[in-house]
């Protein structure tokens, strides 16, 4: 189901994405391969479901990132993602 009421944002994907990435991804800038729009992952639109989550581009609605978990595998589909840019922490 992908109704408006069920729509959250990439902030809610922060925990699940940390299962795959070594650092926080919500502040990373994701560029959509459909329209070229760059947005923080936290600002993407999230549609959660029982088996995982979909992050969509707020500009063109392209699925930028899909994460699906089954009893046997974890699948990350980034077909809709051109690249991710992460600020280097200033230390």
């Amino acid at each position: 189901m992908q109704t408006e009421d069920m729509r959250l944002d990439g902030n809610a994907a922060g925990g699940p994405l940390r299962e795959l990435f070594a650092m926080d991804m919500t502040a990373a800038m994701a560029t959509c391969s459909g329209c070229g729009t760059a947005r923080a992952v936290g600002a993407l639109l999230e549609y959660g479901h029982e088996m995982g989550l979909i992050l969509r581009c707020p500009h063109c609605n392209m699925p930028v990132l899909r994460m699906v978990r089954t009893p046997r595998f974890l699948r990350l589909d980034v077909t809709g993602l051109s690249f991710i840019a992460i600020d280097e922490p200033v230390s």
Binding site: D9, N11, G14, M23, T26, G42
Partner: protein, 255 residues
């Protein structure tokens, strides 16, 4: 390449069992859990944790909850809104007691976060329990030096259904008296006699009165139910805010 030691890899985000060390009723439908989390690495204002419940048959339910306590606090406080017939929040709200354990992982998030060192005017807009991460920001600001506070004046606009639904009401009233903070509350259903605040949903006219103008250098954080967040963010852009400086966090209805 040099002979330098390779940097330690960032710590994995592990599930830990937190212990409930305090419970505070906030409103008829919300309560705050004070958690002692072993080896808590500290957090930033605006971050959240994931909470996981596992049934005896192995079924798992997982939800995200914003942290209400400031980075300066040793404990982690979560304010839970009880959503009827939901899977997770009724357990956290009605069943969990002091001394009980609950599985959490965190802190999570680097987008919807604010630190007093960032300076500049702050516009906070909350709907319902969307006040929780913004409260962590206000509490964080209150812990900072007077000079730092002066560089980060705050306007908070908070939309609640009725006066009884205002979370942290007394604390907000106290914070509103401190220098550089203005609190505006709007009630969307019922208002008590003598109520002097707003009495309608957030709209453009309200934002024009409350929001910092001009918007330059202002950071805006908007948190609450999806329709409120999206409407508010769009209106802020309409009245001159740079979309990149309007950060949003949508709270879902699933609880």
């Amino acid at each position: 390449m040099t002979d330098a030691e390779p940097a330690a890899p960032p710590a994995r985000l592990e599930w830990r069992v937190a212990t409930v060390v305090g419970v505070r009723d906030e409103t008829p439908s919300t309560r705050t859990l004070v958690l002692d989390v072993p080896e808590w690495p500290g957090h930033r204002a605006g971050q959240h944790v994931d909470v996981r419940l596992v049934a005896e048959d192995g079924y798992q339910a997982q939800r995200s909850y914003s942290i209400a306590s400031p980075p300066e606090s040793a404990n982690v406080e979560l304010t839970i809104e009880c959503i009827k017939d939901a899977e997770v929040s009724p357990y956290l709200h009605d069943v969990l007691q002091v001394g009980d354990g609950v599985e959490i992982r965190g802190p999570i998030g680097g987008y919807f976060v604010w630190e007093v060192q960032q300076r500049g005017p702050l516009l906070l807009v909350a709907g319902g329990s969307g006040i929780v991460p913004l409260m962590a920001m206000l509490r964080h600001r209150a812990h900072s030096a007077t000079a730092e506070q002066a560089r980060s004046p705050v306007h908070l606009l908070y939309s609640a259904r009725t006066a009884d639904d205002i979370i942290y009401r007394e604390e907000l009233e106290a914070i509103a008296k401190s220098a550089g903070v203005s609190v505006f509350i709007t009630l969307t259903r019922d208002a008590p006699a003598g109520w002097t605040g707003y009495r309608r949903r957030i709209d453009r006219a309200m934002l024009e009165e409350v929001a910092w103008r001009p918007a330059r250098n202002t950071r805006a954080f908007v948190c609450g139910p999806t329709p409120l967040v999206e409407a508010t963010a769009n209106l802020l852009v309409d009245i001159g805010y740079d979309a990149k400086r309007v950060r949003t966090e949508r709270f879902g209805p699933t609880g």
